[in-house]
Amino acid sequence: MDVAAPPIGQARWPVVRRMARDPGVIGGMILLVVIVGAVLAAPLVTGFDPYRSSILLRLKPMLYRGHLLGTDELGRDMLARLLYGGRITLLVGFAPVLVASAIGGTLGLIAGYFGGGVNMAIMRVMDVFYAFPSVLLAVALSGALGGGVQNAVVALALVFIAPICRVAESATTEVRHLDFVAAARASGAGHGAILRVHVIGHMIGPVVVYASGLCSLSIVLAAGLSFLGLGVRPPEPDWGLMLSALRQAVYVAPVNAALPGVAIFLTSLAFNLVSDGLRDAMAVRS
């Protein structure tokens, strides 16, 4: 993408300015704010209890007696379960990206900056993790660890460490050989100062862009693990778990059965829109 030089006087926050002009980013941001806002403010949006079931109200259609989105297979309010469940789904989707960025980013920084044997040791281990397709590794790890929310977060974080480490390593290696780093070292700066002042600033951009792109995948995978019975456990609400439980109801209440997936899809779409815009605005090549 061509990026025109910003006019004089508008040089501050160029990335934010470019993103604010991107219709995709605006759309994605609105979607994200609505979803996250509604999920956080769940008690204000709906008065129903997400755990309260009723045999008489099973699988009712939308707008049935105040149940805006109908009810699930145990007669619980769908909207309430989607909103409260979104808290867990978003957390399990988002936390691994944060953890993996911190660990993978640091490892990549160390590998890229010190090079040589340190680089070899770190990157060869990462290569092995890279040898697994992401879905397979996530399922394998959380399957072996025994499921549950904590293990799902650990499994997803382990999946994302290797790719983030690679991005951080290549960005760091690129900067390390530039003249200004050599100049800083010649003028007596220590490793800590060089990393803090010169290297991290160059490496953080690509890492943030890459990590933002992982958010969408992470949400889909987190809900997917619950869908397979490896993540959140019933009766706790979660989008993937709801989708799996309502699969039995596709013949009776198809709309209800598809709803939790709509939530996953919209969240994933919103993250992708924002992340694409961020990548374009920062002009980082994928």
Partner: protein, 314 residues
């Protein structure tokens, strides 16, 4: 050329060893003692110790790993706890079933992706580009397991055109009655590769069309389709690399889609193994899928260096 290929082959060995190590270790982080699940609760400590010795579980971990690796080299993946049959045999049948839908989805997804990406790249900025890019974005964002359910709701529940799940009682043959079972799993799996290939093709083609050599070709009076041939040849290596990765993801990621459609493939074996805590089966499926992915990547690398001479160095 041969030298570079040989070096690349050598580089795979440590990765393969690493993959086997991870698969081996995975079974030890699993909660619960495998011996306890084999014996009744009131088994005496002597019996437990005896059985532990019988399975070699009292030896140090590195020794156990080497023994396991030795069996692996002879094609012995152990015995499934769930069915009592050898894991290798069960996997053999399942891999064929996964390959049918994965390769089918690859062919369809890649064709759609290259077609849409070319159109979008040539008409960059136009309405065709917008539609193709929106399609690609949706393809990237959609959770496959949900797409499968939506297709079931549309084509099985509402229209009653296609069977909702399974492979059919008599397995597959070239009759429409049986092939109908393939339509929805393949359609579901093909959307992500279609989206990703659309993106990379579009970006590469649009970028190449703006380069100087294209302008020169155009100035020389070359026709549009002839220019496109030059562009395609230059765009091929990265697109090929992405397609290779995607094919690997189709095999490795089929677990979610196979669960939705009850398709008797590797993913289905894997989710059953997880449910039954059938560790040897889980280990075997992970190992085979991961090794397949490693060799697929190797193949793509070699193919790429065959096309692009610049990649032969290093």
């Amino acid at each position: 050329m041969l030298r570079a290929a040989g070096l690349r082959l050598l580089a795979v060995i440590p990765i393969v060893l690493g993959v086997t190590m991870i698969c081996f270790v995975l079974m030890f982080v699993a909660p619960g003692d495998p011996i306890q699940t084999l014996l009744p609760d009131n088994a005496s400590p002597e019996v437990i110790a005896l059985l532990r010795h019988h399975y070699g579980l009292d030896r140090p971990l590195p020794v156990q790993y080497l023994v396991w690796l030795g069996h692996l080299l002879q094609g012995d993946l152990g015995t499934s706890i769930g069915t009592g049959r050898p894991v290798a045999g069960e996997l053999g049948a399942a891999i064929g079933n996964t390959a049918i839908i994965a390769i089918g989805a690859a062919i369809i997804g890649f064709s759609i992706g290259i077609g849409c990406g070319l159109l979008a790249g040539v008409h960059r900025g136009g309405w065709i580009d917008r539609i193709a890019s929106a399609f690609a974005l949706c393809g990237l964002s959609v959770p496959q397991y949900w797409l499968g359910i939506v297709l079931v709701i549309l084509f099985s529940v509402t229209l009653n055109w296609l069977p909702a799940m399974g492979m059919g009682p008599r397995g597959l043959s070239w009759h429409w009655q049986e092939l109908r079972n393939l339509v929805m799993p393949i359609a579901t799996l093909s959307l992500i590769p279609a989206g990703i290939v659309t993106r990379i093709t579009r970006d590469r083609v649009a970028e190449l069309l703006r380069q100087d050599f294209v302008r020169t070709l155009r100035a020389q009076g070359l026709a549009g389709h002839a220019i496109l041939r030059h562009v395609l040849k230059n765009a091929a290596p990265p697109i090929l690399a992405v397609m290779g990765l995607q094919l690997g993801y189709l095999f490795g990621g089929s677990i979610l889609v196979e669960t939705v459609f009850n398709w008797p493939g590797v993913g289905f074996l894997m989710s059953n193994a997880i449910l039954r805590r059938d560790q040897p089966m889980l280990q075997g499926t992970i190992l085979v899928l991961a090794l397949g992915f490693v060799f697929l990547n190797l193949l793509v690398d070699l193919l790429q260096s065959g096309i692009d001479p610049r990649m032969r160095r290093g």
